[in-house]
């Protein structure tokens, strides 16, 4: 067996080349190298795991010493045009308003009612799924593909194209696809991003010098005003956050008040939880439209009273 030092050196070079992008021939020899010995594979996996973790370093950007002229210079060329582009995109969308479904590329506006679930594809094959109560505009006639999420929850499976970047504007956040599947939820100034595959880059629109956050697979980003939280998520949880796509709501020991809020996103019939019952912890999975099932489960399983009146469900202790 080769010594670990030599193998690690090879693994490191493969990792860097893989990131840079492998040609077909290179890809074949890389796969061959990986399969050749388990020692190659474990060494590569080990380096890749820590190299991926190093993405968190983007968080230290502000704390870097200012005495690095080359870095400072680079900062200056960061996309100052971003907010302008967003504005322009919004303006154009307002002007175009309606769209032609069959011409491509096209600009369009889509909205769903509570409980509705809709998906469609852009002309490049990018898939967009809308949850209930969601409104967005997509513009793909410009140099880049731009989606503006007004409110609600949408899931994107992006066909990556380096020369035709895909960005989502949600509130004051700009989310840039780096080859990925992800969802964005927006309510007023709160934005949540869950990455299912690949990576995204998240910028604050009106502040070009602020630290961009890079979110990886199974990361979740919660952004409000100028705060951005990057939470490393266990894969199971990230899946949970995306289960609305299958029409399921999954709760894990969560407050009844929060659970009700979640249901209310998807249903016309709203659940109102009295303050004295809001802290009851519940868990489980429910079809998001099965509000009746949820109601009867509450009645049976918990020490609460459930009353329905004029399309509203009242839960009290």
């Amino acid at each position: 067996m080769k010594n670990s030092d030599a193998i690690e050196d090879e693994a490191a070079h493969w990792l860097v080349r893989e990131e840079r992008g492998l040609g077909l021939k290179e890809r074949v020899s890389f796969e061959h190298w990986l399969a050749e010995e388990t020692a190659h594979r474990v060494s590569y996996l080990r380096l890749k795991a820590s190299w991926r973790k190093a993405d968190q370093l983007s968080a230290i950007r502000e704390s870097l010493p200012r005495t690095r002229p080359s870095l400072r210079r680079h900062l200056a060329i960061l996309p100052k045009a971003a907010p302008l582009a967003a504005l322009a995109a919004c303006g154009l969308l307002l002007l175009t308003g309606s769209w032609n479904y069959f011409s491509a590329p096209r600009d369009l506006a889509v909205a769903t009612a509570a409980g509705e679930h809709r998906s469609f594809a852009l002309s490049d094959g990018t898939k967009i799924e809308l949850n209930g109560n969601t409104s967005l505009q997509a513009k793909e006639s410009g140099p880049g593909r731009v989606v503006t999420l007004d409110h609600g929850l949408a899931y994107f499976e992006v066909v990556h194209d380096e020369h035709h970047p895909f960005t989502v504007y949600a509130g004051n956040r700009k989310i840039t696809d780096l080859g990925t599947k992800f969802s964005v939820y927006r309510k007023d100034d709160k934005v949540e991003v869950v990455v299912k595959e690949g990576r995204v880059r998240i910028d604050i629109v009106n502040s070009p010098v602020a630290t961009p956050v890079f979110a990886d697979r199974d990361n979740m980003v919660i952004a409000k005003a100028d705060e951005t939280l990057l939470a490393p998520k266990q894969s199971a949880n990230a899946t949970d956050n995306l289960t609305w796509r299958s029409g399921l709501l999954i709760f894990n020991d969560e407050r009844l008040a929060d659970v009700a809020k979640e249901f209310n996103k998807y249903n016309k019939k709203q659940i109102l939880v009295a303050a004295n019952a809001g802290d009851i912890k519940i868990g489980g999975s429910f079809r998001q439209d099965n509000i009746e099932g949820f109601k009867s489960l509450l009645e049976q399983g918990f020490d609460v009273r459930v009353k329905e009146d004029r399309g509203k469900i009242y839960v009290t202790k």
């Binding site: 860097v16 990131e19 388990t38 020692a39 380096l47 820590s50 973790k53 983007s58 950007r61 870097l64």
Partner: protein, 194 residues
Amino acid sequence: MAVETMSQESPDEWFVREVLPLEPMIVRFLRRNWRNEAEIDDLRQEAYVRIYESAVRERPAAAKPFMFQIVRNMLVDRHRKDKVIPIGSLTDLDDLDLTSEEASPERACAARQEILRLQDALDGLSDRCREAVILRKVYGMAQRDVARHMGICENTVEQHLAKGVRILAQCVHDRRGTLISQAKRYLKNARPAH
């Protein structure tokens, strides 16, 4: 549901999630039971190979005892082959608290600690190498742009980054780097102010 996720997980994913976070423990165990420091990296590598291959055959229910059994067997094999140290002198597995949460993935994920560790790792890189890693990881530049920015060819960037990859791995997994920088920090603070 948990069981379902386990069976769908690839050996690669399992290895990254279950084994790598235990690296500090594995390395500490190897050090305690092997005299030649220069061979620790090779031993760790061999241990990983054995662990990975066993897991491909059958995924263990509990990763920690499974791994340490493999590491221990490996050392026994080695000792037998080298006829250096009698088998009995191996630190007993019971001495290791296998249930301790010390190196659990949750702990290892503690983001703040991790960033500190990564910063330490950056400190340990040569100037050019550090600049390449910072441009790539902190500023998210593509390698081509890093090369243009630093005025060097892409090949050289690859050399710098490959080196960075390895040193970062040492700090993140094995945590060898942290002690040194902790000591440095301590010395800095201990220095009398002028």
